[in-house]
Symmetry: C2
Subunit: 121 residues, 2 copies
DNA sequence: CCGTTATTCAACCAACTGGTTGACAACGAT
DNA sequence: ATCGTTGTCAACCAGTTGGTTGAATAACGG
């Protein structure tokens, strides 16, 4: 629904592919064109072009124009968004684990459904 | 190919869905059973059961047994793996951006293909 | 044993994804 | 103007995903 949710959808989906993660890793070293990016892989140039497009629509890279070349650059901002989302819940998970809260996990007092992992009738 | 790559595949793919991210957000507050997790959504319980399975196979949650219930807990470790991956490249992207390295981006001296965004014949 | 609760399995379906090939567009060089 | 380079678009295909429903399993409470 929400816009930042769709951005996260696309960003996570984009990185859920080893080739695209590899592209990101290589772009961290240096900007590159689609042709250069495609070179090391067995697959077609078109396939890589698609991958780059996915990364671009996810906001993970941007592109400029230089003659017929369209160099690709990493775009930090969206990585930041992802980190923030993950870190928020990683921290919770860690804290709850270290406090052994898991054993007393409880909420549910708004509906018929009352107990959680332990009985409480 | 590599094992940690597959883990990242599954983890990123798992979070590329708003329902699953919502499940994670709710599990950060408290552990819960599949039934409790399913309640707020319009869709079937089975669908949520599948979502939880995806999260579990991605290593983002673990489950225990308590009678017929199978409470779900957040598992920090995999979040950590993701953060580390992302942060590594976010940092690069940011540094390169602030140094305006983008303008001089160059590598390629190992093959016939020589120049990048600028000519160098 | 039998019923209830909690959850999963199985089969199916529509939509999406990652790959292919072939044609085409954009630009620079000649 | 035409050619080579660089990249995209379009159509297609196989495999995966997210959802459905209905049946099955697991664990407890009589």
């Amino acid at each position: 629904m929400d816009d930042s949710s769709m951005r996260l959808d696309r960003a996570f989906a984009a990185l859920a592919d080893p080739i695209r993660r590899d592209l990101v890793a290589r772009l961290a070293v240096s900007d590159a064109t689609v042709g250069q990016l495609a070179e090391p892989y067995e697959c077609s140039l078109q396939a890589i072009s698609k991958h780059v497009k996915v990364l671009e629509e996810a906001g993970l890279v941007t592109r400029s124009r230089d003659a017929q070349r369209r160099p690709v650059h990493l775009h930090a901002e969206t990585f930041d968004l992802m980190t923030q989302w993950i870190e928020r819940y990683r921290r919770e998970a860690e804290e709850r684990y270290s406090r052994l809260d898991a054993l007393l996990a409880r909420t549910a007092d708004d509906e018929g459904r009352t107990d959680l992992t332990k009985d409480a009738s």
